[in-house]
Protein backbone atom coordinates (compact mmCIF):
# COMPACT_ATOMS: atom_id res chain seq x y z
CA UNK A 1 0.00 0.00 0.00
CA UNK A 2 1.40 3.37 -0.99
CA UNK A 3 1.89 5.65 1.97
CA UNK A 4 1.46 9.41 1.73
CA UNK A 5 4.08 11.64 3.23
CA UNK A 6 2.91 13.90 5.99
CA UNK A 7 6.03 15.67 7.19
CA UNK A 8 9.48 15.53 5.63
CA UNK A 9 12.49 17.10 7.32
CA UNK A 10 15.34 17.81 4.89
CA UNK A 11 18.84 18.69 6.08
CA UNK A 12 17.70 20.67 9.06
CA UNK A 13 20.46 22.66 10.73
CA UNK A 14 20.25 25.04 13.68
CA UNK A 15 23.24 26.84 15.12
CA UNK A 16 23.42 28.76 18.37
CA UNK A 17 26.47 30.97 18.58
CA UNK A 18 28.84 28.54 16.92
CA UNK A 19 27.35 25.34 18.34
CA UNK A 20 25.31 23.15 16.03
CA UNK A 21 22.29 22.11 18.07
CA UNK A 22 20.81 20.36 15.04
CA UNK A 23 23.18 19.07 12.37
CA UNK A 24 21.93 18.20 8.90
CA UNK A 25 18.98 16.16 10.15
CA UNK A 26 16.57 14.43 7.76
CA UNK A 27 13.65 12.12 8.42
CA UNK A 28 10.21 11.44 7.05
CA UNK A 29 6.82 10.83 8.62
CA UNK A 30 3.95 9.15 6.78
CA UNK A 31 0.26 9.85 7.23
CA UNK A 32 -1.49 8.15 10.11
CA UNK A 33 1.77 7.04 11.68
CA UNK A 34 2.64 7.52 15.28
CA UNK A 35 6.24 8.58 14.92
CA UNK A 36 8.81 9.12 17.64
CA UNK A 37 11.83 11.40 17.82
CA UNK A 38 14.10 10.24 20.60
CA UNK A 39 17.50 11.06 21.98
CA UNK A 40 19.27 11.47 25.30
CA UNK A 41 19.11 14.77 27.15
CA UNK A 42 20.74 17.57 25.22
CA UNK A 43 20.39 15.72 21.94
CA UNK A 44 18.61 18.66 20.36
CA UNK A 45 15.08 17.27 20.36
CA UNK A 46 13.51 20.45 21.66
CA UNK A 47 15.41 22.49 19.09
CA UNK A 48 14.14 20.23 16.30
CA UNK A 49 10.68 20.60 17.74
CA UNK A 50 10.87 24.38 17.76
CA UNK A 51 12.31 24.41 14.24
CA UNK A 52 9.40 22.38 12.95
CA UNK A 53 6.78 24.50 14.70
CA UNK A 54 8.57 27.71 13.66
CA UNK A 55 9.29 28.94 17.15
CA UNK A 56 12.86 29.06 15.87
CA UNK A 57 13.86 29.69 12.27
CA UNK A 58 16.39 27.03 11.25
CA UNK A 59 19.67 28.18 9.72
CA UNK A 60 19.32 25.66 6.90
CA UNK A 61 17.02 22.93 5.68
CA UNK A 62 13.36 22.49 4.89
CA UNK A 63 10.29 21.39 6.78
CA UNK A 64 7.97 20.07 4.08
CA UNK A 65 4.45 19.56 5.32
CA UNK A 66 1.45 18.16 3.46
CA UNK A 67 -1.19 20.64 4.60
CA UNK A 68 -4.95 20.44 4.89
CA UNK A 69 -5.40 21.32 1.23
CA UNK A 70 -3.06 18.47 0.36
CA UNK A 71 -0.32 20.83 -0.80
CA UNK A 72 3.31 20.39 0.10
CA UNK A 73 4.51 23.56 1.78
CA UNK A 74 7.78 24.51 3.41
CA UNK A 75 6.89 25.62 6.92
CA UNK A 76 10.09 27.61 7.26
CA UNK A 77 8.48 30.31 5.14
CA UNK A 78 5.57 30.63 7.56
CA UNK A 79 5.23 32.63 10.76
CA UNK A 80 4.64 30.86 14.06
CA UNK A 81 0.96 31.76 14.31
CA UNK A 82 0.25 30.68 10.72
CA UNK A 83 1.22 27.07 11.32
CA UNK A 84 -1.94 25.85 12.98
CA UNK A 85 -4.10 26.84 10.02
CA UNK A 86 -2.11 24.54 7.79
CA UNK A 87 -3.00 21.61 10.00
CA UNK A 88 -0.04 21.24 12.35
CA UNK A 89 -0.54 21.81 16.05
CA UNK A 90 1.71 21.34 19.10
CA UNK A 91 1.63 20.79 22.82
CA UNK A 92 4.07 22.16 25.38
CA UNK A 93 6.31 20.42 27.84
CA UNK A 94 5.41 22.99 30.46
CA UNK A 95 1.69 22.80 29.71
CA UNK A 96 0.78 26.27 28.53
CA UNK A 97 -2.88 26.42 29.47
CA UNK A 98 -4.68 29.51 30.71
CA UNK A 99 -5.42 29.30 34.42
CA UNK A 100 -8.16 31.91 34.41
CA UNK A 101 -10.20 30.04 31.83
CA UNK A 102 -12.31 26.92 32.24
CA UNK A 103 -11.45 23.60 30.60
CA UNK A 104 -14.07 24.30 27.97
CA UNK A 105 -12.75 27.79 27.27
CA UNK A 106 -9.20 26.50 27.00
CA UNK A 107 -10.39 24.10 24.34
CA UNK A 108 -12.19 26.91 22.53
CA UNK A 109 -8.86 28.73 22.27
CA UNK A 110 -7.70 25.79 20.18
CA UNK A 111 -10.41 26.59 17.64
CA UNK A 112 -9.38 30.25 17.42
CA UNK A 113 -8.50 30.09 13.74
CA UNK A 114 -11.80 28.52 12.79
CA UNK A 115 -13.86 31.52 13.89
CA UNK A 116 -14.87 34.03 11.28
CA UNK A 117 -16.52 36.75 13.33
CA UNK A 118 -14.64 39.78 14.60
CA UNK A 119 -14.89 41.97 17.67
CA UNK A 120 -17.92 43.96 16.53
CA UNK A 121 -19.99 40.89 15.74
CA UNK A 122 -19.03 39.48 19.11
CA UNK A 123 -19.63 42.72 20.98
CA UNK A 124 -23.09 43.15 19.50
CA UNK A 125 -23.83 39.43 19.84
CA UNK A 126 -25.05 39.18 16.30
CA UNK A 127 -26.52 35.90 15.14
CA UNK A 128 -23.47 34.77 13.19
CA UNK A 129 -21.26 35.16 16.26
CA UNK A 130 -23.73 33.39 18.55
CA UNK A 131 -24.13 30.47 16.16
CA UNK A 132 -20.40 30.07 15.75
CA UNK A 133 -19.92 29.98 19.50
CA UNK A 134 -22.59 27.32 19.93
CA UNK A 135 -21.05 25.21 17.20
CA UNK A 136 -17.59 25.42 18.71
CA UNK A 137 -18.85 24.71 22.22
CA UNK A 138 -20.55 21.54 20.99
CA UNK A 139 -17.33 20.43 19.35
CA UNK A 140 -15.36 21.14 22.50
CA UNK A 141 -17.86 19.26 24.65
CA UNK A 142 -17.61 16.28 22.35
CA UNK A 143 -13.84 16.22 22.70
CA UNK A 144 -14.10 16.56 26.47
CA UNK A 145 -16.45 13.58 26.49
CA UNK A 146 -13.95 11.60 24.46
CA UNK A 147 -11.30 12.50 27.04
CA UNK A 148 -13.65 11.64 29.91
CA UNK A 149 -13.43 15.18 31.26
CA UNK A 150 -16.96 16.35 30.51
CA UNK A 151 -17.96 16.75 34.17
CA UNK A 152 -15.17 19.25 34.68
CA UNK A 153 -15.89 21.35 31.63
CA UNK A 154 -16.76 24.54 33.52
CA UNK A 155 -14.09 24.20 36.16
CA UNK A 156 -11.09 26.47 35.95
CA UNK A 157 -7.80 25.05 34.78
CA UNK A 158 -6.15 26.49 37.87
CA UNK A 159 -5.66 23.78 40.47
CA UNK A 160 -6.45 20.82 38.23
CA UNK A 161 -4.36 17.66 38.65
CA UNK A 162 -1.44 17.21 36.28
CA UNK A 163 -3.00 14.31 34.37
CA UNK A 164 -6.10 16.39 33.65
CA UNK A 165 -3.97 19.27 32.36
CA UNK A 166 -2.16 17.00 29.96
CA UNK A 167 -5.43 15.72 28.58
CA UNK A 168 -6.83 19.23 28.23
CA UNK A 169 -3.80 20.28 26.20
CA UNK A 170 -4.36 17.29 23.95
CA UNK A 171 -8.02 18.21 23.65
CA UNK A 172 -7.04 21.73 22.66
CA UNK A 173 -5.01 20.39 19.74
CA UNK A 174 -7.95 18.35 18.50
CA UNK A 175 -10.15 21.43 18.18
CA UNK A 176 -8.31 22.56 15.06
CA UNK A 177 -8.95 19.28 13.15
CA UNK A 178 -5.20 18.80 12.77
CA UNK A 179 -3.45 16.61 10.27
CA UNK A 180 -0.36 16.36 12.46
CA UNK A 181 -0.14 16.69 16.23
CA UNK A 182 3.33 17.18 17.69
CA UNK A 183 3.70 16.33 21.36
CA UNK A 184 6.53 17.78 23.45
CA UNK A 185 7.62 15.14 25.98
CA UNK A 186 4.06 13.99 26.70
CA UNK A 187 5.19 11.40 29.24
CA UNK A 188 7.03 13.94 31.38
CA UNK A 189 5.83 13.70 34.95
CA UNK A 190 3.66 10.62 34.42
CA UNK A 191 4.08 7.35 36.25
CA UNK A 192 3.99 3.93 34.61
CA UNK A 193 0.24 3.46 34.76
CA UNK A 194 -0.41 6.91 33.43
CA UNK A 195 2.08 6.41 30.62
CA UNK A 196 0.29 3.23 29.53
CA UNK A 197 -3.01 5.09 29.59
CA UNK A 198 -1.44 7.83 27.51
CA UNK A 199 -0.32 5.30 24.93
CA UNK A 200 -3.85 3.98 24.68
CA UNK A 201 -5.23 7.47 24.38
CA UNK A 202 -2.82 8.34 21.57
CA UNK A 203 -3.86 5.26 19.62
CA UNK A 204 -7.52 6.18 20.17
CA UNK A 205 -6.89 9.71 18.96
CA UNK A 206 -5.13 8.51 15.86
CA UNK A 207 -8.07 6.29 15.06
CA UNK A 208 -10.92 8.57 16.06
CA UNK A 209 -9.51 11.79 14.61
CA UNK A 210 -7.67 10.27 11.65
CA UNK A 211 -4.45 12.18 12.17
CA UNK A 212 -0.69 11.68 12.37
CA UNK A 213 1.19 12.00 15.64
CA UNK A 214 4.82 12.96 16.24
CA UNK A 215 6.20 12.38 19.74
CA UNK A 216 9.34 14.08 20.83
CA UNK A 217 10.24 12.09 23.86
CA UNK A 218 12.95 10.64 25.93
CA UNK A 219 10.87 8.14 27.90
CA UNK A 220 11.69 4.86 26.11
CA UNK A 221 8.71 2.88 27.37
CA UNK A 222 6.13 5.10 25.73
CA UNK A 223 8.04 5.39 22.48
CA UNK A 224 8.69 1.67 22.12
CA UNK A 225 5.11 0.91 23.04
CA UNK A 226 3.19 3.22 20.79
CA UNK A 227 5.37 4.36 17.87
CA UNK A 228 5.28 2.80 14.43
CA UNK A 229 8.63 4.23 13.52
CA UNK A 230 11.32 6.15 15.34
CA UNK A 231 14.15 8.52 14.54
CA UNK A 232 16.96 8.59 17.07
CA UNK A 233 19.29 11.57 17.36
CA UNK A 234 22.26 12.53 19.48
CA UNK A 235 24.18 15.81 19.57
CA UNK A 236 21.85 17.04 16.85
CA UNK A 237 22.77 14.25 14.43
CA UNK A 238 20.72 11.33 13.22
CA UNK A 239 21.70 7.96 14.62
CA UNK A 240 19.11 5.89 12.85
CA UNK A 241 15.51 5.68 11.65
CA UNK A 242 13.23 2.67 11.63
CA UNK A 243 10.84 0.48 13.57
CA UNK A 244 11.19 0.31 17.38
CA UNK A 245 12.85 -3.10 17.14
CA UNK A 246 15.35 -1.92 14.56
CA UNK A 247 16.22 1.08 16.67
CA UNK A 248 16.61 -1.03 19.78
CA UNK A 249 19.18 -3.15 17.96
CA UNK A 250 20.96 -0.14 16.47
CA UNK A 251 24.52 -0.08 17.85
CA UNK A 252 24.92 3.66 17.59
CA UNK A 253 21.69 4.26 19.52
CA UNK A 254 22.82 1.91 22.24
CA UNK A 255 26.12 3.73 22.49
CA UNK A 256 24.44 7.09 22.72
CA UNK A 257 22.18 5.97 25.55
CA UNK A 258 24.39 3.58 27.38
CA UNK A 259 27.92 4.54 26.44
CA UNK A 260 30.50 2.37 24.71
CA UNK A 261 32.06 -0.63 26.32
CA UNK A 262 35.68 -0.30 27.16
Amino acid sequence: MKKNHCLTINNLTMTFGGIKAVDDLSFQIYENEIYGLIGPNGAGKTTVFNCITQFYKPNAGQVIFNNKSDQSIDLVTYQTHEIIQEGLVRTFQNIELINELSLLDNLLVGAHVHYETGIFFQGLRLKKARDEEIKMKKKAEKILEFLELFERKDELVAGQPYGVLKKVELGRTLMSDPKLIILDEPAAGLNETETTQLAGLLRDIRLEYDCTILLVEHDMRLVMDVCDRICAISFGRKLGEGTPRAIQKNKRVQEAYLGTEV
Binding site: F55, H81, I84, F92, E96, L97, I98, N99, H112, Q122
Partner: protein, 344 residues
Amino acid sequence: MEHIKKIFNTKPYNYYIFFGILLSLAPTAQQLGLLNSSTIIVLGTVIFYSVVGVGLNVLLGYSGLISLGTAGFMGLGSYMAAYLTVDMNLPYFLSVIISVSIPLAVGLVIGLISLRIQGYYLAIATLGVSEILKQVFIEMDTLTGGFSGKSAFYPKIFGLLELNRQFTFIGMSIVLVLILIFSHNFINARTGRAFLTMRGSESAAKAMGINLLKYKLTAFGIATAYAALGGVLYIHFIRFAYPSGWSVTLSLQILAVIVIGGMRKMNGPVIGAFIVFGVPELILKQIPIISGIDGLAYIFTGVLIIVVILFYPDGVIDLLNPIKDYIEKYKENKNEEKSLLDNQ
Protein backbone atom coordinates in the same frame (compact mmCIF):
# COMPACT_ATOMS: atom_id res chain seq x y z
CA MET B 1 -34.79 35.67 45.49
CA GLU B 2 -33.80 32.56 43.50
CA HIS B 3 -35.96 33.75 40.67
CA ILE B 4 -34.23 37.14 40.57
CA LYS B 5 -30.81 35.48 40.69
CA LYS B 6 -31.79 33.32 37.74
CA ILE B 7 -32.60 36.32 35.58
CA PHE B 8 -29.19 37.79 36.30
CA ASN B 9 -27.34 34.58 35.60
CA THR B 10 -28.96 33.51 32.35
CA LYS B 11 -28.72 36.94 30.80
CA PRO B 12 -25.88 38.57 32.69
CA TYR B 13 -26.45 41.88 31.14
CA ASN B 14 -29.78 42.25 32.79
CA TYR B 15 -27.57 42.99 35.74
CA TYR B 16 -25.99 45.92 33.91
CA ILE B 17 -29.35 47.26 32.76
CA PHE B 18 -30.73 47.06 36.27
CA PHE B 19 -27.68 48.95 37.53
CA GLY B 20 -28.10 51.54 34.79
CA ILE B 21 -31.74 52.11 35.69
CA LEU B 22 -30.82 52.48 39.34
CA LEU B 23 -28.14 54.99 38.43
CA SER B 24 -30.53 56.98 36.26
CA LEU B 25 -32.82 57.46 39.23
CA ALA B 26 -30.15 59.57 40.92
CA PRO B 27 -31.13 62.87 39.27
CA THR B 28 -34.74 62.26 40.25
CA ALA B 29 -33.60 61.58 43.79
CA GLN B 30 -31.88 64.94 43.69
CA GLN B 31 -35.07 66.66 42.54
CA LEU B 32 -36.83 65.07 45.48
CA GLY B 33 -34.17 66.44 47.80
CA LEU B 34 -32.79 63.02 48.78
CA LEU B 35 -29.37 63.73 47.29
CA ASN B 36 -27.63 67.04 46.85
CA SER B 37 -26.26 68.35 43.58
CA SER B 38 -22.61 67.81 44.48
CA THR B 39 -23.40 64.12 44.91
CA ILE B 40 -24.74 64.03 41.37
CA ILE B 41 -21.52 65.59 40.11
CA VAL B 42 -19.40 63.07 42.00
CA LEU B 43 -21.52 60.18 40.72
CA GLY B 44 -21.12 61.63 37.24
CA THR B 45 -17.36 61.49 37.54
CA VAL B 46 -17.64 57.90 38.76
CA ILE B 47 -19.56 57.10 35.58
CA PHE B 48 -17.07 58.44 33.09
CA TYR B 49 -14.07 57.13 35.02
CA SER B 50 -15.79 53.73 34.93
CA VAL B 51 -15.87 53.91 31.14
CA VAL B 52 -12.15 54.69 31.05
CA GLY B 53 -11.57 51.94 33.60
CA VAL B 54 -13.32 49.32 31.49
CA GLY B 55 -10.92 50.15 28.67
CA LEU B 56 -7.85 49.93 30.88
CA ASN B 57 -9.19 46.66 32.28
CA VAL B 58 -9.29 45.21 28.77
CA LEU B 59 -5.69 46.33 28.25
CA LEU B 60 -4.07 45.50 31.57
CA GLY B 61 -6.46 43.09 33.25
CA TYR B 62 -7.29 40.86 30.32
CA SER B 63 -4.38 41.42 27.93
CA GLY B 64 -1.60 42.02 30.42
CA LEU B 65 -0.33 45.16 28.70
CA ILE B 66 0.49 48.17 30.78
CA SER B 67 -0.12 51.78 29.86
CA LEU B 68 0.44 54.85 31.99
CA GLY B 69 -0.82 57.17 29.27
CA THR B 70 -4.53 56.84 30.00
CA ALA B 71 -4.92 60.42 31.23
CA GLY B 72 -3.31 61.76 28.09
CA PHE B 73 -5.80 59.97 25.87
CA MET B 74 -8.71 61.05 28.03
CA GLY B 75 -7.50 64.61 27.69
CA LEU B 76 -7.16 64.24 23.96
CA GLY B 77 -10.77 63.13 23.71
CA SER B 78 -11.90 66.01 25.92
CA TYR B 79 -10.09 68.72 24.04
CA MET B 80 -11.19 67.42 20.68
CA ALA B 81 -14.81 67.24 21.75
CA ALA B 82 -14.64 70.74 23.19
CA TYR B 83 -13.02 72.20 20.10
CA LEU B 84 -15.30 70.43 17.66
CA THR B 85 -18.55 71.37 19.39
CA VAL B 86 -17.66 74.86 20.59
CA ASP B 87 -15.25 76.24 18.01
CA MET B 88 -16.30 74.35 14.94
CA ASN B 89 -19.93 73.92 15.83
CA LEU B 90 -20.13 70.32 14.70
CA PRO B 91 -23.14 68.25 15.67
CA TYR B 92 -22.69 66.34 18.91
CA PHE B 93 -22.59 62.76 17.64
CA LEU B 94 -20.23 63.60 14.78
CA SER B 95 -17.94 65.26 17.27
CA VAL B 96 -18.02 62.17 19.47
CA ILE B 97 -17.05 59.91 16.59
CA ILE B 98 -14.13 62.10 15.58
CA SER B 99 -13.02 62.72 19.17
CA VAL B 100 -12.79 58.97 19.74
CA SER B 101 -11.34 58.01 16.36
CA ILE B 102 -8.30 60.23 16.38
CA PRO B 103 -7.01 59.17 19.82
CA LEU B 104 -7.79 55.63 18.70
CA ALA B 105 -5.38 56.05 15.80
CA VAL B 106 -2.68 57.29 18.15
CA GLY B 107 -3.40 54.35 20.43
CA LEU B 108 -2.83 51.96 17.56
CA VAL B 109 0.62 53.44 17.05
CA ILE B 110 1.36 52.73 20.70
CA GLY B 111 0.10 49.21 20.10
CA LEU B 112 2.65 48.80 17.34
CA ILE B 113 5.39 49.93 19.70
CA SER B 114 4.19 47.42 22.30
CA LEU B 115 5.29 44.63 20.00
CA ARG B 116 8.89 45.60 20.37
CA ILE B 117 8.97 46.56 24.02
CA GLN B 118 7.41 44.85 26.98
CA GLY B 119 6.86 45.07 30.69
CA TYR B 120 8.48 47.95 32.50
CA TYR B 121 9.91 49.31 29.24
CA LEU B 122 6.39 49.62 27.88
CA ALA B 123 5.18 51.27 31.06
CA ILE B 124 7.93 53.86 30.82
CA ALA B 125 7.33 54.41 27.10
CA THR B 126 3.64 55.11 27.72
CA LEU B 127 4.72 57.46 30.48
CA GLY B 128 6.80 59.33 27.92
CA VAL B 129 3.81 59.48 25.57
CA SER B 130 1.66 60.93 28.33
CA GLU B 131 4.23 63.64 28.99
CA ILE B 132 4.44 64.48 25.31
CA LEU B 133 0.65 64.78 25.16
CA LYS B 134 0.60 67.04 28.21
CA GLN B 135 3.10 69.33 26.50
CA VAL B 136 0.90 69.31 23.40
CA PHE B 137 -2.08 70.36 25.55
CA ILE B 138 -0.13 73.25 26.98
CA GLU B 139 1.39 74.44 23.74
CA MET B 140 -1.43 74.13 21.22
CA ASP B 141 -3.46 76.77 22.97
CA THR B 142 -5.56 77.68 19.97
CA LEU B 143 -7.16 74.26 20.31
CA THR B 144 -6.86 73.68 24.00
CA GLY B 145 -6.85 77.10 25.56
CA GLY B 146 -3.46 76.36 27.10
CA PHE B 147 -3.08 77.12 30.78
CA SER B 148 -6.35 79.01 30.97
CA GLY B 149 -8.24 75.87 30.13
CA LYS B 150 -10.99 74.98 27.72
CA SER B 151 -14.70 74.97 28.31
CA ALA B 152 -17.64 73.26 26.66
CA PHE B 153 -21.37 72.81 27.17
CA TYR B 154 -23.90 70.10 27.91
CA PRO B 155 -24.55 68.05 24.77
CA LYS B 156 -26.87 69.41 22.12
CA ILE B 157 -28.51 66.37 20.56
CA PHE B 158 -29.26 66.55 16.84
CA GLY B 159 -28.70 70.30 16.96
CA LEU B 160 -32.04 70.82 18.66
CA LEU B 161 -32.31 69.39 22.12
CA GLU B 162 -29.93 70.96 24.57
CA LEU B 163 -29.54 68.81 27.66
CA ASN B 164 -29.16 69.95 31.22
CA ARG B 165 -27.09 68.32 33.93
CA GLN B 166 -29.74 65.77 34.89
CA PHE B 167 -30.29 64.53 31.36
CA THR B 168 -26.60 64.53 30.59
CA PHE B 169 -26.17 62.34 33.66
CA ILE B 170 -28.78 59.91 32.38
CA GLY B 171 -27.15 59.96 28.95
CA MET B 172 -23.80 59.05 30.53
CA SER B 173 -25.41 56.20 32.45
CA ILE B 174 -26.80 54.84 29.21
CA VAL B 175 -23.37 55.04 27.58
CA LEU B 176 -21.80 53.21 30.53
CA VAL B 177 -24.35 50.41 30.37
CA LEU B 178 -23.89 50.04 26.62
CA ILE B 179 -20.11 49.94 27.02
CA LEU B 180 -20.42 47.33 29.77
CA ILE B 181 -22.68 45.11 27.68
CA PHE B 182 -20.60 45.44 24.51
CA SER B 183 -17.38 44.72 26.38
CA HIS B 184 -18.90 41.86 28.36
CA ASN B 185 -19.91 40.28 25.07
CA PHE B 186 -16.57 40.34 23.33
CA ILE B 187 -14.68 39.42 26.49
CA ASN B 188 -16.77 36.29 26.87
CA ALA B 189 -16.15 35.36 23.26
CA ARG B 190 -13.19 34.54 21.08
CA THR B 191 -11.57 37.97 21.49
CA GLY B 192 -11.54 37.81 25.28
CA ARG B 193 -10.10 34.31 25.23
CA ALA B 194 -7.42 35.44 22.80
CA PHE B 195 -6.54 38.34 25.15
CA LEU B 196 -6.25 36.05 28.15
CA THR B 197 -4.15 33.56 26.21
CA MET B 198 -1.87 36.34 25.02
CA ARG B 199 -1.47 37.44 28.61
CA GLY B 200 -1.01 33.96 30.04
CA SER B 201 1.35 32.54 27.45
CA GLU B 202 2.52 34.18 24.26
CA SER B 203 3.86 30.81 23.12
CA ALA B 204 0.50 29.12 23.50
CA ALA B 205 -1.12 32.06 21.74
CA LYS B 206 1.18 31.77 18.76
CA ALA B 207 0.78 28.02 18.63
CA MET B 208 -3.01 28.38 18.59
CA GLY B 209 -2.86 30.81 15.70
CA ILE B 210 -3.47 34.01 17.65
CA ASN B 211 -1.88 36.88 15.77
CA LEU B 212 -0.17 38.83 18.53
CA LEU B 213 0.13 41.98 16.42
CA LYS B 214 -3.59 42.05 15.75
CA TYR B 215 -4.61 41.46 19.33
CA LYS B 216 -2.16 43.86 20.91
CA LEU B 217 -3.39 46.52 18.52
CA THR B 218 -6.99 45.67 19.36
CA ALA B 219 -6.32 45.88 23.09
CA PHE B 220 -4.59 49.24 22.83
CA GLY B 221 -7.26 50.44 20.45
CA ILE B 222 -10.05 49.64 22.86
CA ALA B 223 -8.24 51.15 25.82
CA THR B 224 -7.58 54.43 24.04
CA ALA B 225 -11.04 54.56 22.45
CA TYR B 226 -12.71 54.08 25.82
CA ALA B 227 -10.36 56.60 27.45
CA ALA B 228 -11.18 59.15 24.74
CA LEU B 229 -14.88 58.42 25.14
CA GLY B 230 -14.51 58.97 28.87
CA GLY B 231 -12.86 62.28 28.05
CA VAL B 232 -15.76 63.28 25.81
CA LEU B 233 -18.26 62.46 28.55
CA TYR B 234 -16.09 64.40 31.00
CA ILE B 235 -15.95 67.63 29.03
CA HIS B 236 -19.68 67.70 28.35
CA PHE B 237 -20.51 67.14 32.01
CA ILE B 238 -17.85 69.04 33.93
CA ARG B 239 -17.59 71.55 31.10
CA PHE B 240 -14.02 72.70 31.57
CA ALA B 241 -10.54 71.17 31.48
CA TYR B 242 -7.00 72.29 32.32
CA PRO B 243 -3.79 70.73 30.95
CA SER B 244 -2.43 70.09 34.42
CA GLY B 245 -5.37 67.82 35.13
CA TRP B 246 -4.19 65.25 32.59
CA SER B 247 -1.27 64.16 34.66
CA VAL B 248 0.44 60.91 35.45
CA THR B 249 -1.30 61.08 38.82
CA LEU B 250 -4.63 60.74 37.06
CA SER B 251 -3.33 57.82 35.01
CA LEU B 252 -2.31 56.18 38.26
CA GLN B 253 -5.71 56.82 39.81
CA ILE B 254 -7.38 55.08 36.88
CA LEU B 255 -4.98 52.21 37.31
CA ALA B 256 -6.01 52.15 40.95
CA VAL B 257 -9.62 51.94 39.78
CA ILE B 258 -9.12 48.60 38.10
CA VAL B 259 -6.69 47.20 40.63
CA ILE B 260 -8.90 47.95 43.59
CA GLY B 261 -12.15 47.07 41.86
CA GLY B 262 -10.79 43.81 40.55
CA MET B 263 -9.03 43.11 37.29
CA ARG B 264 -10.56 40.65 34.85
CA LYS B 265 -14.03 41.37 36.17
CA MET B 266 -16.49 43.42 34.14
CA ASN B 267 -17.95 45.20 37.15
CA GLY B 268 -14.48 45.78 38.65
CA PRO B 269 -13.92 49.21 37.09
CA VAL B 270 -17.31 50.45 38.26
CA ILE B 271 -16.66 49.37 41.83
CA GLY B 272 -13.14 50.73 41.64
CA ALA B 273 -14.24 54.05 40.18
CA PHE B 274 -16.69 54.43 43.01
CA ILE B 275 -14.04 53.68 45.61
CA VAL B 276 -11.33 55.89 44.14
CA PHE B 277 -13.42 58.81 42.94
CA GLY B 278 -16.64 58.46 44.89
CA VAL B 279 -15.80 57.38 48.41
CA PRO B 280 -13.31 60.14 49.26
CA GLU B 281 -15.81 62.85 48.25
CA LEU B 282 -19.02 61.25 49.37
CA ILE B 283 -18.01 59.43 52.52
CA LEU B 284 -14.59 60.35 53.83
CA LYS B 285 -15.18 64.07 53.58
CA GLN B 286 -18.32 63.73 55.67
CA ILE B 287 -16.50 62.12 58.58
CA PRO B 288 -15.41 64.66 61.18
CA ILE B 289 -11.72 64.99 62.14
CA ILE B 290 -10.25 63.05 59.22
CA SER B 291 -12.13 65.08 56.66
CA GLY B 292 -9.81 67.96 57.40
CA ILE B 293 -6.71 66.06 56.40
CA ASP B 294 -5.18 67.29 53.19
CA GLY B 295 -4.31 64.52 50.84
CA LEU B 296 -6.70 62.10 52.53
CA ALA B 297 -8.06 60.82 49.24
CA TYR B 298 -4.58 59.96 48.01
CA ILE B 299 -3.62 58.19 51.22
CA PHE B 300 -6.87 56.22 51.09
CA THR B 301 -6.28 55.20 47.47
CA GLY B 302 -2.61 54.44 48.02
CA VAL B 303 -3.23 52.21 51.02
CA LEU B 304 -6.03 50.40 49.22
CA ILE B 305 -3.88 49.69 46.17
CA ILE B 306 -1.17 48.17 48.34
CA VAL B 307 -3.55 46.19 50.51
CA VAL B 308 -5.47 44.85 47.53
CA ILE B 309 -2.37 43.79 45.62
CA LEU B 310 -0.87 42.07 48.61
CA PHE B 311 -3.89 40.43 50.14
CA TYR B 312 -6.86 40.58 47.81
CA PRO B 313 -5.50 40.22 44.28
CA ASP B 314 -8.94 39.64 42.84
CA GLY B 315 -10.15 43.01 43.96
CA VAL B 316 -11.72 44.56 46.97
CA ILE B 317 -14.83 42.44 46.64
CA ASP B 318 -12.85 39.69 48.32
CA LEU B 319 -13.04 41.68 51.51
CA LEU B 320 -16.64 40.55 51.54
CA ASN B 321 -15.63 36.90 51.36
CA PRO B 322 -16.10 36.16 55.07
CA ILE B 323 -19.67 37.41 54.68
CA LYS B 324 -20.17 35.36 51.51
CA ASP B 325 -18.83 32.24 53.20
CA TYR B 326 -21.15 32.77 56.14
CA ILE B 327 -24.17 33.07 53.83
CA GLU B 328 -23.13 29.95 51.90
CA LYS B 329 -22.80 28.00 55.13
CA TYR B 330 -26.15 29.25 56.35
CA LYS B 331 -27.82 28.12 53.11
CA GLU B 332 -26.13 24.72 53.29
CA ASN B 333 -27.38 24.21 56.82
CA LYS B 334 -30.88 25.21 55.80
CA ASN B 335 -30.82 22.76 52.90
CA GLU B 336 -29.58 19.98 55.12
CA GLU B 337 -32.33 20.64 57.62
CA LYS B 338 -34.91 20.70 54.85
CA SER B 339 -33.81 17.39 53.36
CA LEU B 340 -33.75 15.80 56.81
CA LEU B 341 -37.30 16.98 57.40
CA ASP B 342 -38.39 15.73 53.97
CA ASN B 343 -36.96 12.31 54.60
CA GLN B 344 -38.90 11.80 57.76
